[in-house]
C-alpha cells in the first residue's frame, strides 16, 4: 500500500471539567490510530460521546490534543502544542460541518464565502467571480453565477451544504473532514451529497474523513470504517466486511440497532464512560460476554489482514462471539 495521506497515531484528547480540589477528566479520545489514503473515504462511526467529532476537529486544527501525532504526507502537525496554523497548512485540511444553517455566515453573500478562501490561498485574482461560480458548479449548483449574490437564508439545506462543500474545496485541500454532513438534510437529499463527495474525491484525489452515526450511509460510501466507543477504537477495517460480519460486541450492537428490525438487541442502552474512565474495555459494563480480564489490563488488538483496504483490527478479548 502506498504511504497514507493522513496518519493518526495514539491520539488522545482530554478536557478538564470543574476546578477545585479534584477536577474531573473528560476523555474524549484515547489512543486512537488510523490511516487515510488518497482517493479513500474513511468513516469514523459511533454514537454521541464516542469522540468522532473531537478527532475530526483535531485533524482540522480546531482543537488541541493531549498526546499522539497527526501526520500529513509524513510530516507531523503540531496538534498537541497549539492551534496556530499557517495558510499553507490550513489549505491542506478543510472541514464541512453538520448544520448547513449554522456553518454559513447569515450576513454575508455566497460570493463572500467563496471569495475569501480563494483569495487567502492565492487562487483569486482577476477572475475571482468566475472561479467562484465554477466552484459552485462543481458542487452541483448550476448556474453558479446565479447563487453568488444570494444570502444563505435564501437557499435550502441541501443547497447550503453544497456551498459549504464548494467553500471547503476552494483552498484545494488534500483532506476533507466531513462532520455529519447529511444529518441535518432531508432523506432524499442525503444520497446526493454523499455521491457528490465521492465524485469530488475521485476527481481531485482527496482523502475524506467522514464522521457519521449513520451506518447505512457509511457502508454505502466508505472504504474503511473505524468504530469508536467512549473515545476508543473498538474495531476498524473494510467497511463492507466490518458491517456485514462485525467482530466486536459493540459493533454488533450498533449494526443490530441500525437494522430497524424487531429482533432483541444484544445489549441495552447505556452511557459510555468518558468522565474519569475505569481501566479496561469501556464497553465491558454493557457487554454480555465481558469477563474480569476485560475490566482490568489492556485489551489486545486482533489483526486480520485483508487483501484490500488495509487490515481488520478488533480490540477485544472475545472477538466474533
Amino acid at each position: 500500500m502506498t504511504a497514507p495521506l493522513l496518519r493518526v497515531t495514539d491520539l488522545t484528547v482530554q478536557f478538564t471539567r470543574g476546578g477545585g480540589f479534584r477536577p474531573r477528566i473528560l476523555r474524549a479520545a484515547h489512543r486512537v490510530s488510523f490511516d487515510l489514503h488518497r482517493g479513500e473515504v474513511v468513516a469514523l462511526v459511533g454514537e454521541s460521546g464516542s469522540g468522532k467529532s473531537t478527532i475530526g476537529r483535531v485533524v482540522a486544527r480546531l482543537l488541541q490534543a493531549r498526546s499522539g501525532t497527526v501526520a500529513l504526507d509524513g510530516r507531523e502537525l503540531p496538534v498537541t502544542r497549539h492551534l496556530r496554523a499557517d495558510k499553507a497548512t490550513r489549505s491542506r485540511v478543510q472541514m464541512i460541518f453538520q448544520d448547513p444553517y449554522a456553518s454559513l455566515n447569515p450576513v454575508h453573500t455566497i460570493y463572500h464565502h467563496l471569495a475569501r478562501p480563494l483569495t487567502l490561498h492565492g487562487h483569486g485574482g482577476t477572475h475571482l467571480r468566475s472561479t467562484a461560480a465554477a466552484l459552485l458548479e462543481s458542487a452541483g449548483l448550476a448556474p453558479g453565477d446565479a447563487f453568488l449574490d444570494r444570502k444563505p437564508h435564501a437557499l435550502s439545506g441541501g443547497q447550503r451544504q453544497r456551498v459549504a462543500i464548494a467553500r471547503a474545496l476552494a483552498p484545494r485541500p488534500d483532506v476533507l473532514v466531513a462532520d455529519e454532513p447529511t444529518a441535518s438534510l432531508d432523506v432524499s437529499v442525503r444520497m446526493e451529497v454523499l455521491l457528490l463527495l465521492r465524485r469530488l474525491l475521485e476527481a481531485r484525489g482527496l482523502g475524506v474523513l467522514l464522521i457519521t452515526h449513520d451506518l447505512a450511509a457509511a457502508r454505502w460510501i466508505a472504504d474503511r470504517i473505524v468504530v469508536l466507543y467512549a473515545g476508543q477504537v473498538m474495531e476498524q477495517g473494510p467497511a463492507e466486511s466490518v458491517l456485514s460480519s462485525p467482530q466486536h460486541p459493540y459493533t454488533q450492537l450498533l449494526v443490530a440497532a441500525a437494522a430497524h428490525t424487531s429482533a432483541p438487541l444484544p445489549a441495552g442502552p447505556g452511557a459510555p464512560p468518558v468522565i474519569d474512565p475505569p481501566p479496561g474495555c469501556p464497553f465491558a459494563e454493557r457487554c454480555r460476554n465481558a469477563t474480569t480480564a476485560c475490566r482490568t489490563g489492556t485489551i489486545p488488538d486482533h489483526i486480520r489482514p485483508t487483501t484490500h483496504a488495509g487490515p481488520w483490527v478488533t480490540r477485544c478479548l472475545h472477538p466474533g462471539s
Partner: protein
Amino acid sequence: MNDVVLHIQDLRVAYGSTAVLHGASLRVSAGEVLGLVGESGSGKSTLVQGALRMLGRPAVITGGDVILDGQSLFDLDAAGLRRMWWNTVSLVPQNALNALNPMLTIGAHVDDTLLAHGITDAADRRRRAIDAMALVDLLPDTLTAHPHMLSGGMRQRVAIALALLLEPRLVVFDEPTTALDVVVERDILDRIRALQAERGFAAVFITHDISLLLTFADRIAVLYAGRVVEVAPARALGGPSSHPYTVGLLGALPPKLGEDRTAVPIAGVAPRAGQTTPGCAFAPRCTHASPKCEEPQALRALTDHHHVACHRVAGERP
C-alpha cells in the same frame, strides 16, 4: 381496529395568507401506530398540530374538520380545547429534549401539569408522579433532578411520561428520536410499543426517517408539499402500487445489508412550504408524469387500507 380515535377530514391550514396544507385526511384507531412521514416543507407537523389547534400565530385553519373521540375540535371554544389537550390527546413535541424548562425539576414539571388539570390533592399528585416515572422505568429520585442532569434518552422518557400522565386516548409523537443515538432510539421505540399495548392509546408518530417506520408503524401516511399522497399498511409501502414519491424516497435510502440495489436520489427539488399547484406537486420530478397529472389528484382507495393520490396507480376509481 374500528375504534377510530382521530379523524382528520380535508384539513386546510394557512400561515397568514400562505396556504401550507391543502386538504389532508387521516384516520387513527386505538392501539395502532400511524406513522406520518415527510421531508422539510411537507407540512407533517402542521398537519397534526393544526388538527389539534395547537399552532400559534399566524396559523389559521381554513377548511376541513377534525373529530377527536367523537367530538369536533372545530366546534370547541378555548376552554373546551384546553380540557381536551392533555386529557384526551397529548403531544410529545419536537425537540422534547429542549422543551423541558431547565429551571424546574422534573417533579415540578409533573406537578404543574397535574395542577393545571385540577388534581388538587398533593398526596394524589405525588403518587401519580412516582407512577409516571415507573411507567418509563425511571427511579423516583428522577423527580428531584433538573433536565440538564439527565441524558437525552432519559429526557425523552420524561417527555413520554408527561404525555401519558392523564391517560389520553391519543398521543402524538413529533420526531421523538431524531436527536437520539440509534441504540437509545431502539429502546424508546420498544417502550412506546409496550406502553401502547398496556394502555391502548392511539399513536401518531411523525418522522422524516421512513426506514424506522417500515418496521415500527402499523400504517404509514406519506406527506408531500402539504398533501397526503399515500396511506398504506407499512408492509405494502414501496411496492408496485405505491405513489411514485414514496418509491423515490425509499429508493434514495442507502441499501440495507443484504439488499441488492443502488441508492438513487430523487431528481429535482421539493417545493418550499406554501408553494402550490392545482395538480400533483410531485409531477415535475416524476418519471411517469403525464398531462393528466396537472389535474387535482384525490386520495383514491386501492384497498380498504391503502389509498394513493396518483391516477396512474389508482386508476379512475373514486
